[in-house]
Amino acid sequence: MLNELAHFSLNIALGFAVFGTIVPLAGATLRRSSWMQLAPIFSTLQFILVAFAFGALTVAFVSSDFSLRVVVLNSHTLKPMLYKIAGVWGNHEGSLLLWVLILTLFAACAAVFGKTLPQSLLARVLGVQSSITAAFLAFVLFTSNPFTRVEFPPFNGQGLNPLLQDPGLAFHPPFLYLGYVGLSITFSFAIAALLEGKVDAAWGRWVRPWTLAAWIFLTIGIGLGSWWAYYELGWGGFWFWDPVENASFMPWLISAALLHSAIVVEKRDALKAWTILLAILAFGFSLIGTFIVRSGVLTSVHAFANDPERGVFILMILGVFFGGALLLFALRANAMDSKGVFATVSRESALIANNLLLAISCFVVFVGTVWPLVAELLMDRKLSVGPPFFNVAFTPFMVALAVILPIGSTLPWKRAKRAHLSRLWPVAVFCLACVGLTWAMQTGRSLIGPVGLGLGVWLVMGVLIELYQRTGRGTGKWSRLLSLPLADWGKATAHAGLGITIFGVAGITAWQVEDIRVMAIGDSAEIAEFTVTLDNVEDLRGPNYLTTMADIKLARDGKFIANLYPERRYYPVAEMPTTEAGIDSGLWRDVYVVVGDAQPQGGYAVRTFIKPLANWIWTGAIIMAMGGLLSLFDRRYRVGSVAARRDPVEGEA
């Protein structure tokens, strides 16, 4: 009954989404205030209806209602509660419903917080957002209905893919979707601005927090996914340049560029058309990413079984919204006249360089990702593009970005003098010294280690110097430092986080030590400065799996460090084995051990990695997200909402 009600409410929501598109957009064109006033109501209703449906699906999963097809395919009564809930979005239908829920959530947020916006702008934003919701709701209802019943409900379900039964991945999709879909609201703002024919500082101030929020979620989502791949897949890699990973990385790069160009729109009244284009591209890449992941057109190591029919529907959505937006942009972009002027050496120029480098690196990732498709369609050759391509073609742009970052962020707006950079010289010299020293110490290895280390130091020191500069001259430096706006602290934190991630990536890439061998119980192996001993292997039972668990002792210079317990698990319901790595995490290195099946000649295959600075990668990502969060809480975004509360119209309501 609840399921039918939920299905019905989705249908009603589709109706409201269609009306929510037509009425406000027509109202804004015809200047009918009463029509435009309906926009927030329509958006809020869509959110309530979709949230109800999502809640009903969650209830079905939690109570193991095996009359629903998705529950049968993706759940099981023996599954722990966390994974019953995570199962809601651990499948195509449920995850699309989550996608729609977030679409309407952002619309509802815009409706609530956007009361100070000009009426026609708000109506257009919500109208465009409703049209996206309508398209995806139609997709859900016509091709991927989560509320499809089965004729004969079985006694139990088929269980969730065991690889997904992990806390890291349970929360990975919601964060990633909040990021992907968060970009839809900036897209709606961009389209609304094109329709209005006006982009001003207020627009920039409105768009930035939404982009920032989406970017924060994307950063956390990608970080979680990478961390999960690291410890769950048992290969010890953190990034594989796989199509599915690139799908989330492209919107991240573009939204990072958008974040920076929106500052220029807000503060300097320049780069307007470019910012609008970035907002369109950012959501466009989210849609392209969804298409790549859902359609299965590209072979991926992270691939799940999928259905090409659904890909066609997403391709249509992509074509209509992305194509339509670009067409509108081409028609209206010249109405965006930027007034701000700036010198060749200025923060504006530095931000343009940032945007160019981010956009170009995204272009490189895009080419590498879709090249197999192009080659198959045009040259009839089947091929794949591997990490060597990305290492060569992508890395130089990131290096350039990291080099100019501290310089650009210390430059003042409009026009800079050479004196502004004088403090950075000692840092630059220090960094080059670091590069030289590490290069000399490691002899014979690649340049990635020293260069990455130097860049990491350069970024973090650059941030410190910048903060020091902001304290000015004379006494009261500390109080001046503490009274800096939160946005400045956010900027400093996020940039330092990037430095830390680069540091970690360089460390793990350049100085990793790996070893594989067959070990009998009681054997020891010397790997780098560590001693690994296979003490015992035993068969155990988990809540919904069987496991072969090894007990491995890790020591260094004869001193005991830790016991590691790598496992080979077998999930009987899914008939699927998984590998669980045993990891001893440390500040300077991870020791990562995986155990294989018993060998026919006796013993077990044991794979050991020493991974220097591994944790720095994800720590850096978290710090970047924290920086974004600090910036989001900056006073100037709250001042707007305070004004809203004092608004007389608001008082009547």
């Binding site: 395919l73 893919n161 690889l163 997904l164 897949l233 048992g234 290969w235 299965g296 057109v297 072979t299 190591v301 992270h302 691939a303 799940f304 079984a305 999928n306 930027s338 002027v341 700036f342 060749t344 343009i352 360089a353 160019l356 170009i360 272009f363 490189v364 590498g368 090249w371 080659a375 050759r381 089947k382 091929l383 794949s384 593009v385 591997g386 990490p387 060597p388 391509f389 990305f390 060569v392 073609a393 130089p396 742009f397 790996e514 594989i516 061998r517 067959v518 899914a574 008939e575 699927m576 084995p577 998984t578 590998t579 995986v594 294989g596 060998q599 026919p600 000649q601 295959a605 794979r607």
Partner: protein, 150 residues
């Protein structure tokens, strides 16, 4: 003011063009080494690949073909129904969890004297997933079967 803006715009466009040209050149350069062709066992049988060329070989893991080698190395055969290629796994990673006989797989490596030395075997997260290239290769030989169940 007008003049300065125009000058800025020209500078930005010039810079963008320089970056784009650089990126295109870099992409072209990187694509020569960074790509691996896909071949089915039949294609390998028809036209032997150049020695030393890294490519990807895909098909089904032949029944009763997995046998242990020294250390963690092992042997198996990849078949597309019509032809079969012997594979020796020499990679340093453990074989993926879902690697078993009768399953679709893609191995990356080089072909030497009738033996394919694989350094990498594609892992997947879902047992009913089969790489698109493998499906196409099997369809070409007419041995592809729709997966059972859903």
């Amino acid at each position: 003011m007008r003049g300065l803006k125009k000058q800025r715009r020209i500078q930005v466009i010039a810079l963008a063009l320089v970056c784009l040209t650089g990126a295109t050149a870099l992409i072209g350069f990187a694509l020569r080494d960074g790509i691996n062709l896909f071949r089915s066992p039949t294609q390998v049988a028809e036209l032997a690949p150049l020695p030393g060329e890294i490519f990807r070989l895909g098909g089904l893991v032949a029944d009763d073909s997995i046998s242990a080698g020294e250390g963690v190395q092992f042997f198996f055969n990849i078949t597309d129904g019509a032809n079969t290629v012997a594979v020796k796994y020499v990679g340093t990673d453990l074989p993926p969890d879902l690697f078993e006989e009768g399953q679709g797989t893609i191995a990356t490596g080089t072909f030497k004297d009738g033996l394919f030395e694989a350094t990498e075997i594609l892992a997947k997260h879902d047992e009913s997933y089969m790489p698109k290239e493998v499906i196409d290769a099997l369809k070409e030989q007419g041995v592809y079967q729709e997966p059972k169940g859903s």
